[in-house]
Symmetry: C2
Subunit: 197 residues, 2 copies
């Protein structure tokens, strides 16, 4: 049993090292990405869309060339556990999702995925075992075409220097940077006390 | 010269394998994360905020336990090339940024960082070499305290089944999922042609 270019054990170790622990979502996610890769036309340059912020983006980052930082992975937080790999320029691709209609024979997966019981009452070993047995049988797949007009555009930004904080920032036009316009999440700790940036 | 737990060569190879190529932003980013790690109180559990979507998140993912999928890394897209590592529960931490006031002795870095010339007219070997020489001398650092009230809250979601697409989704309340309410980016390719989901 392989997940992408890795054996199951290798993939599990990668997950622990990158994600911090062997989350069930990463194990399911590995089978999902693997399933998508197997159904994508070979040799194409592809990008990824992930429909959730939870876990799944890390499976995509581990198993494809698409990462958050290189921009080939986009997160479109629709809350669905699903991903799409699509041909970069044409937009044709495959979308893979967890199919809840196929979970009846897998009680641990169903309980976890639909949050039927609180996490501390779930049997995580049995859950991981079921995921390893179920593999791609609990997934759905469909061919899709990504609508580029619906994806957020990558703007050609300029680099401006903010007259308040003095830092460089990417923007469409000059002026105060977003942080200095109020989108702050920090207090600066000064020697004399604490003041708001 | 080390970057986090890696030699410079090891880090460069990691970057190529994860990010796809040795982007200057990942090399600078490596020194930035390393600088932040060196100034964070040891042993603390920390989370990360990244102020740009470009490149830097990958340096954080490679050099800290914080990833997009495990939620310990948040991207707050302010367009500034800066990151903060902060103590998970108390919020105290360090913010590291590119300090444009320190770039005058580094013409290739300045040209690249401020986009003074188009990319194809820049000398990328000389740029990488300068970054390797400059290391942390081009960075600024400040102690900060993250304002949790300004960070997007992680809601306790339920899992609902959408009556239209039949898929499970995370939500605050039941009803149609976001995708079926119009936040679509796909066309489904049916045997009979193409129709909008």
């Amino acid at each position: 049993m392989n997940i992408g270019p890795y054996t199951l054990e290798e993939y599990k170790n990668l997950v622990k090292s990158f994600h911090g622990y062997l989350a069930p979502g990463l194990l399911v996610g590995g089978f999902m990405v693997d399933h998508a890769l197997k159904h994508l036309p070979e040799g194409d340059l592809f990008d990824a869309v992930c429909e959730t912020r939870n876990c799944l983006p890390d499976a995509i980052q581990l198993l494809t060339p698409c990462t958050i930082g290189n921009g080939w992975l986009r997160i479109l937080d629709l809350g669905r556990y699903a991903l799409t790999l699509y041909e970069k320029y044409g937009g044709r691709g495959v979308r893979v999702y967890m199919d809840v209609r196929k979970l009846d024979s897998w009680p641990h997966i169903k309980t976890w995925f639909l949050k039927i019981m609180p996490k501390d009452q779930q049997d995580s070993d049995a859950l991981l075992e079921e995921i390893g047995e179920a593999q791609a049988t609990i997934l759905g797949m469909e061919e899709v075409e990504v609508r580029f007009d619906r994806l957020e555009k990558k703007h050609k930004d300029i680099i401006a220097i903010c007259p308040v904080c003095g830092e460089a920032y990417r923007a469409q036009s000059r002026g105060l940077c977003k942080a200095c316009r109020g989108e702050l999440v920090y207090l600066k700790t000064e020697e004399t006390g604490v003041k708001i940036v």
